[in-house]
Amino acid sequence: MTTEVVVTGLGATTPLGGDVASTWDALRAGKSGVVALTEDWVDRFDLPVRIAAKLAVDPTDSLPRVQARRWDRCEQVAMIAAREAWRHAGVPDVEPERLAVVIGTGIGGALTLLGQDDLLETAGMRKVSPLTIPMLMPNGPAAHVGLDLHARGGVHAPVAACASGAEALVIAWRMLRAGEVDVVVAGGAEACIVPITLAGFAQMRTMSTRNDEPERASRPFDIARDGFVLGEGAGVMVLERAEFAAARGAARHGRLAGVGTSSDGYHITGPEPEGIGAGRAISAALRTAGLDKADVGHVNAHATATSVGDVAEAAAIRAAVGDHAVVTAPKGALGHLIGAAGAVEGLACVLALRDGVVPPTLNLENPDPGVQLDVVTGSAREVRLRAAVNDSFGFGGHNVALAFTSA
């Protein structure tokens, strides 16, 4: 009997709320986390994108001052989510050598890199912080969480653009299944709402410029979608070998039953338009989970609201799962949390299974005829669910699918 991987703790800080409960409540209620940017640089650079999904609660509100100044914002959100997940899991008593941390990010410490470069330019070498490197390195979020929990079973930081958070859960699952460790704290973190990322994404023509209607800007699967909305946040899960969780009497909130990964080998940023690689990842997740298509009642879609990506994903879902599953696209509400997206949305999958509720997809008014899926709109739908799939895809052609089942 192969060991099962169970979810025993959840933590998050997102544009919808400073923790899991407030995020999930807002997601179910169909609230939007997208706001107009008021920073002076929006005008200074005449940015075509003037909206973003900023954190509902600033991380410095809850962190001690000295910790906050030693951690990049990306590390701050990872710590907040990890500490919530760890508390939620009941502060597991685990040998440090049997505890690992896997937290991915797409970009890493962008604010630190930019801020310290400004200091170098304006005030000179001596003003550059000696913490610059540990604050900007993309393994910083994983490393700080590992330090906080005294994890000695391995600290990893997968970097797979918008699939980083999901890939972290994949690595955690593989470590647990291989019996390398008993507990893994896994997820993703991102905080890169700065002019250069907005400018760079805007130059790719991948971002929504519906600046006058922030809450209506992120429109997954809608015919009038015009790109994604950049967001920030973190999502973290505590995953355990089922036997270990049972022995310590831990509450189980769901199971990460299977995982699948593939790569497109097609283009550095554009998804393969038929969704073939994406479909292979989903099929692999079902296979490793021992699930049939018919078992999958719900798909939490990656759907960022770009023109090619949403239709390619819809094709992948139809091919790998079918058109019976109840689909939601949470980026309509959350925006796109880049390296945190897969972790936060995976967490929403676990909660959908637990509560039997699929949140609505915001701003889906006229479905793209290429979608042909049962996508929840308007208000949340109650559905009895046994298994659910979360999709994540990243620039570079990374495809990741996670199959969750109820506890």
């Binding site: 001596r126 912080s129 000696p130 913490l131």
Partner: protein, 81 residues
């Protein structure tokens, strides 16, 4: 410009508190930065840069390496200003 050792200690304590979060009344001359106040080498660099700005002194790396206690730093600033 601070002149007395007491004023230097007061200014230094403010900087150490800002960088490392240690309570100011803990920062007394006999305390070792590393062993007793638990300040790491990265924070010591930050403290040195702030000391340079605040007191208008230079703290070269070879000097910094020999400032073991709070009192060492106070004495160095006193004799350099």
């Amino acid at each position: 410009m601070p002149v007395t050792n007491e004023e230097i200690l007061h200014g230094l304590a403010q900087i150490v508190h800002e960088v490392a979060g240690i309570e100011k009344n803990e920062i007394t001359p006999e305390k070792s930065f590393v062993d007793e106040l638990d300040i790491d080498s990265l924070s010591m660099v930050e403290i040195a840069v702030q000391v340079e700005d605040y007191f208008g002194v230079k703290v070269p790396d070879d000097v910094l390496a020999n400032l073991k206690t709070v009192g060492d730093a106070v004495d160095y600033v006193a004799k350099t200003t």
